[in-house]
Amino acid sequence: MNLEFDFDNVEITEFGIGLDDVDDQDFCCMAVDDEVQSALREMAQTTWKSMCESTSEPPLYDPSEKYESFEYVHLPLDNELANRMRELHNADDLPMNSAALSDPTKIFCYFARMTDAEERRLTALHRATQFKGVLKSRLIFQRLITDALKFVEDNVFKLDKDFDLLIDASYVHILRPSAFEFAGNLQGAVLAAVPENIRLIQSELEFVDLSSVQNYAIKHPRAARYLASIRCQNQAQNVDRLALD
């Protein structure tokens, strides 16, 4: 599988964060200097390298599967499970917010958006760590007029060595499926999609009463994931009633 992006000719590198709002998630950009931009590009390249070393034919992401913490899978960008990631990737003119780090508890992810010379866009996203991105770091600092070391406290935004996923024009390349599910708010999405998934599956399986399945799946994420999986992979098509009996 190829990445539709040229790392050697990156024209623009932007940095942004995702914030948990009261009833939704917000995404905004923050200014970063050229060194940080370079670090973000290196992280994205490391991520792609890890994916390539992992497998050349990544399987399709299946919401009903249980994945390892580090496992390369892919999902077409037009798949309904990739809605949130598609919106982020395609969003234009994201607002700039210099004060976005003022409440680090709201940060749930950070991302980089890059544009190459052919105006192709790559979005790379990483889930915020357990420290929610901003660490109260205690750095050892050696003063100039003495050899004594002292602690200095400062707010530090910690970048990781790679990203959890990359998004190009066609696919979401997922290196850490759990991070994709978290950042893409997949659990909420599959739970919300239960009625629609039931309706579509029901249209294929008119001879089965799925109302009890719907009632169960609305409250149980695992069942909702199975429904989403059946729906996305069209597994309800051409099912023989006799075979079910």
Partner: protein, 188 residues
């Protein structure tokens, strides 16, 4: 005009840009002089108020270029705001210049008026109305994001300072950031 509710960084630079937008007034004051403050104090003050803010703006442009503070702006709708410069000239500059400073109370009132204008320019985010941009051939556009059904696409307008004569819907522009809502398209 950019909404005053938008959160913007670079407070010092924005303040300097407000003062920079008042440069023509200080030039006129310096030429005209007054009977209250001796020229040996008044002229250096005016010179300072002209040079420092514009030097900061120049430095900000260079810093943005050096640090590659670039981003892509996609144009949904653009409005040419040449008329803002006229409004600025006739509603702010000329009335302030026309006042005769005969007494110290006149002088104090003039400074107070200047303070109000600085506050309003700051509060209403009108700090990009710098006549130097016009002299360098730049135009000012207010750019609105595309209206699509993507909930993440930006909703706030941005100010674009560019040498382009027209900015059309669908244009994708690579611009340098002067502040969170003001962007400068420099020559390559």
């Amino acid at each position: 005009m950019v909404g005053p509710h938008q959160n913007q960084g670079l407070k010092f630079v924005r303040l300097m840009m407000v003062l920079g937008s008042l440069s023509p007034l200080f030039i006129l004051w310096a030429i005209r002089g007054n009977n209250l403050v001796p020229d040996r104090f008044f002229l250096p003050f005016c010179a300072l108020m002209i040079v420092v803010p514009n030097a900061v703006l120049w430095q900000r442009e260079n810093t943005a270029k050096k640090l590659k503070e670039k981003r892509e702006i996609v144009v949904g709708k653009a409005e040419d705001h040449r008329d803002y410069l006229l409004v600025y000239l006739f509603t702010m500059l000329l009335p302030l210049y026309a006042v005769d400073l005969v007494t110290w109370r006149d002088f104090a009132a003039e400074l107070a008026a200047l303070g109000f204008i600085i506050f309003l320019f700051w509060h209403l985010n009108l700090y990009y109305l710098n006549i130097l941009f016009a002299m360098r051939g730049y135009r000012i556009f207010t750019v609105y994001p595309p209206t699509d059904d993507n909930p993440i696409t930006g909703k706030e307008s941005q100010v674009l300072i560019t040498r382009r004569v027209t900015v059309s819907p669908g244009d994708r522009l690579v611009v340098y950031r002067l502040s969170d809502t003001v962007y400068l398209e420099m020559d390559k």
